[in-house]
Symmetry: C2
Subunit: 218 residues, 2 copies
DNA sequence: GTAGATTTGTTATTATAATCACAAAGTGAG
DNA sequence: CTCACTTTGTGATTATAATAACAAATCTAC
């Protein structure tokens, strides 16, 4: 099956399935039914089966799915590359936390380069990564063949960072700045972008909470 | 218009619109057309207009929308409560970064309580917040009337944290643990949950990158 | 005031995603 | 072997979301 025929929504759920299956594995659950997953994730079992059918996963009728087999297949699609180097831009509080974040490593990602514009930070080292001057970004990223950048700078810096990235061989961006980047704000190259807006995430929670509170009152 | 009639997809975009409008404001752009937003966000202008119609925003035909007016209206819906206190569970690298994160404050969120199980951390202070023993969670959260919790513990701790939360007056959860929580894993109360899985986010980028790379080759 | 250019607001249409419904395949007890 | 029970896989159906199409409103220039 051609990957690109798999709908994005299904791809998104793949990562959720992966976590769930890892859970099954830890619990020693060797096999599972679509209902097992569905119950745990609060979705319909038909959705699980249909998703699995997209990625070609095969269960046994009357029996279910083999945990290891499906996990392997899901991982093959969701994590197609074993090792991927990444560049971090902005080594403030959030940036440092990301540098120290163990979860990236376990999923095969390595922050190989870290950049900042602050003279006091440049040259210092975190977890064996020497923080480099953002002015060297293009050169160093090219040399390492890095295509993914994480932006974790204050929002007022994002404009400069975008310039730097446009000018480099970066093709995908994980943006923690509270400015929504879309295709790196309409440059000709097409970038792959994911925006993580932490305060908006809290706000969304708060929104649904308020909604719940108001319906309770009425 | 009743809030609950606004589709979730529209609500999600509200936060994106808000960022965009803040951008307009900073640029001194007093008014804008649906095309202005659409171009910047790489979406269709009809979608913008339709979304705005849901929230009752009114533009002027032949003219456009007033930046301040729309921003006010969007914010009223997207950020219905001016001040919301939040509890943080897990003051490791990520937790500390969140405690220091300025963006929460500007959006009206305050991490009022922070908890950990590590004896060495309990009692110490970050940004004026004294780190408390997780065993006091229920009591303290109730006293402060907090309904939102942020989980930033290592994944092996999440089971215990869930127990603690179920047992408390928490109603909404922002989960940074790489375990997908759905309705706090099927307890009777219905929780509002948003999962932020940082390594999955990177993995998603990597997926689309690989896809791009492979189509380029073919 | 009118014509031509803009731009909104909304209905109709199309596209996409989720769910249902059920046949097909497998299991296990007797 | 047969019957009752599970559970998958998928075509048909329904629900939801995005886009297109266009009338209605406003603006500008003359």
């Amino acid at each position: 099956m051609n990957k690109s025929e798999v709908p994005d929504e299904v791809i998104n759920r793949l990562y959720i399935y992966a976590r769930c299956l890892e859970g099954f594995r830890e619990e020693g659950k060797k096999s599972f039914s679509s209902d097992d997953i569905a119950d745990r994730l609060n979705i319909k079992s038909t959705l699980v089966r249909k998703d699995f059918s997209y990625i070609g996963t095969m269960g046994k009728r009357g029996v279910g799915y083999d945990t290891e087999e499906v996990l392997k297949e899901v991982n093959q699609i969701a994590f197609p590359i074993k090792e991927r180097k990444v560049a971090l831009i902005g080594v403030g509080k959030l940036g440092s936390a990301l540098l120290n974040f163990y979860g990236f490593k376990t999923q095969g990602f390595k922050i190989a380069l870290a950049f900042d514009k602050d003279r006091r930070k440049i040259g210092s080292e975190i977890r064996g990564i020497k923080i480099d001057d953002i002015n060297n970004f293009k050169k160093r990223v090219k040399k390492e063949g890095i295509k993914i950048a994480i932006i974790a700078v204050p929002s007022e810096e994002v404009v400069n960072v975008i310039k730097e990235i446009k000018n480099s061989c970066i093709e995908a961006v994980l943006n923690f700045t509270p400015s929504y980047l879309s295709s790196l704000n309409n440059c000709s190259n097409d970038f792959i972008i994911r925006n993580i807006d932490l305060s908006s995430e809290l706000a969304r929670l708060s929104y649904y909470l308020s909604e719940k509170e108001s319906t309770k009152r009425n």
